[in-house]
């Protein structure tokens, strides 16, 4: 039985995948806390799709090498986040339509660019669904550095982000630079997405941002606790997902997301059950 547990970790590539999944999971969980509390799931998904042209350009110019891909994706992500954010702030009616049109168009542009290269199908699949088994030590280094920077900014502006998320009007009366902080948060989400791209891919990115955080939301009453619980759940999803993908021979990114979703459903079901039991007891007392 112990063998079964330990076997995958004999292989260095699995250990790297695990470290990557935990680092990325925790980062997405922390940033994802804001995504959940501020209702930015659509923004997150749109942003993840909108960076594909940037990834494509990096792919074309760098011949598939990891480094240029990363930096071009980063550039595209930051520009897109500010652009989508600006649209959200200026168009009063039907902003979701405007954002939807743009991100779908950019996604299609990305696919068009990538498909111009021969042998593109595998690489496109990696961008969409992740390539966690192919993570290298230098990729992990990049994830750690940028992840660390993001967490540092979250810590520095912790109080400010909390105020703008809970009560933007209070933030204005306190003369906080609300717009600047909004944009800063969007840029943090953008960088998080780029850093996490290799682990889960574009299609599943929004799940890593919101599912562990949504689960933590059900289990916590204070913001720092919510972030910690979200990170723990994301890490557990990473471990379970990798076991799942190893023994069942399924794609790792999808397995991680499925694990996170199952944990959410379990917790959500649990809270509903507890509520029902409490109501039963209450009505019996009356």
């Amino acid at each position: 039985m112990l063998d079964w547990f330990l076997l995958p970790w004999h292989y260095t590539f699995m250990v790297r995948a695990l470290i990557g999944a935990i680092l990325v999971g925790s980062l997405c969980a922390i940033v994802g806390t804001y995504v959940v509390l501020r209702g930015m799931a659509f923004f997150g998904d749109a942003l993840a799709h909108a960076i594909l042209p940037g990834v494509a350009i990096g792919y074309l110019l760098g011949d598939g090498a990891r480094q240029p891909l990363f930096w071009w994706a980063m550039l595209a992500a930051i520009i897109s986040s500010l652009g989508i954010g600006a649209i959200g702030k200026s168009v009063k009616i039907r902003e979701d339509t405007a954002i939807g049109i743009i991100f779908a168009g950019m996604f299609a542009l990305g696919i068009a660019l990538i498909s111009s290269v021969d042998n593109y199908t595998n690489d496109l699949a990696h961008f969409l669904f992740g390539d966690v088994l192919g993570i290298s030590a230098s990729d992990l280094g990049r994830i750690s550095i940028f992840g660390g920077l993001i967490i540092l900014v979250v810590i520095i502006f912790y109080k400010e982000f909390m105020v703008i998320s809970f009560d933007p009007i209070l933030a204005t009366t306190l003369r906080l630079p609300v717009k600047g902080l909004d944009y800063l948060l969007m840029v943090l989400i953008a960088i998080t997405i780029v850093v996490s791209l290799q682990t889960v891919g574009i299609a599943l990115m929004v799940a890593m941002l919101i599912t562990p955080a949504a689960t933590a939301y059900l289990l916590s009453r204070r913001l720092p606790v919510m972030m910690i619980i979200a990170s723990v759940i994301a890490s557990i999803s990473g471990v379970v997902g990798l076991y799942f993908s190893y023994y069942a021979n399924i794609a790792s990114g999808a397995a991680i997301v499925l694990s996170a979703t199952m944990i959410f459903l379990f917790v959500w079901g649990g809270t509903i059950l507890i509520k029902l039991i409490k109501e039963q007891r209450h009505s019996r007392i009356i």
């Binding site: 204005t172 009366t173 906080l176 630079p177 009453r221």
Partner: protein
């Protein structure tokens, strides 16, 4: 990190308050949103420590007026001066939102909410100090909720919810508190609790303005009242402002008046309004 002064979010310092000048001076204030005139040519003054009721039907512009005072919106025409300066330059103005506008499921407890009032003074990188926690504690004590510090905000009653926002304003060291419909939906006893706290604020010379519907309460518990429906219909003592001519202008035909022995009983017909907010 003392290089970060309390006013580090702005390049300029916050102005000193000359208690001689009126707290609030509004001159020809108008606000236009797209093609809609929300407020038209409003002028009045408020003095230190006054407690004012802003009364009017749904859509009268009460919330908009408060948001302009708080510095959240900019007037299209006219001016607002707080202690002689624009609202934008102060952090002593607190806006207490309507309870139904607040996200009560946000993962914060009572102490967190009150501490938020101090964030303007703290600046980034500075963590709340012992002094800040003292102020939070004192603020909670003032509103008689010191035992609730660790309570999650979703577990509070209506009156308690209102009081923590007053505590937040105190922690902010606000000198002008604008409250949007704080008494709506509270039972009489709870309302009295709130007024008791407002009386204590009056002693501290905090200026309070409350937007409300309840004409009776407005006429009983406030120094002066403002009757508003996009325009300033009347300002002054309740018995001077709440006269039938003014009330008809303010409420149109949504008001029914019944003359009784004690005075005029006024009924507001609030069905089917398009207001700037939904009526609870």
């Amino acid at each position: 990190m003392s290089i970060f002064k309390s006013s580090n979010y702005l390049i300029h310092q916050f102005p000193k308050h000359d208690i001689g000048t009126p707290t609030l001076k509004v001159a020809n204030l108008s606000f236009r949103f797209g093609s809609i005139d929300a407020l038209m040519d409003i002028s009045f003054e408020v003095n230190v420590g006054e407690r004012l009721a802003i009364v009017g039907p749904n859509g009268a512009g009460k919330s908009t007026l408060f948001k302009i005072f708080a510095g959240v919106l900019k007037p299209t025409q006219g001016s607002v001066q707080i202690y002689g300066y624009e609202p934008n330059g102060h952090i002593c103005i607190a806006y207490v939102p309507q309870r139904n506008q607040v996200d009560w499921s946000f993962p914060v407890n009572v102490a967190d909410v009150v501490m938020m009032g101090r964030v303007g003074k703290l600046g980034p990188l500075r963590w709340p100090s012992h002094k800040d926690w003292e102020i939070v504690h004192q603020s909670l004590k003032f509103v008689e909720m010191e035992g609730f510090a660790k309570r999650q905000i979703s577990e509070l009653s209506g009156g308690q919810q209102q009081r923590i926002f007053i505590a937040q304003s105190l922690a902010q060291e606000a000198e002008l508190i604008l409250m949007d419909e704080p008494l709506t939906g509270l039972d009489l006893n709870t309302q009295q609790d709130i007024f008791r706290i407002l009386d204590m604020l009056k002693e501290k010379k905090v200026t309070v303005m409350i937007a409300m519907h309840d004409l009776k309460l407005a006429s009983e518990r406030f120094d002066r009242v403002v009757l508003l429906n996009k325009r300033l219909i009347g300002i002054g003592l309740p018995q001077e402002v709440f006269v039938p001519e003014n009330l008809s202008v303010a409420y149109g035909n949504h008001l029914r008046m019944l003359t009784t022995k004690e005075g005029i009983l006024v009924f507001e017909d609030t069905c089917c309004e398009e207001g700037e907010h939904s009526h609870a």
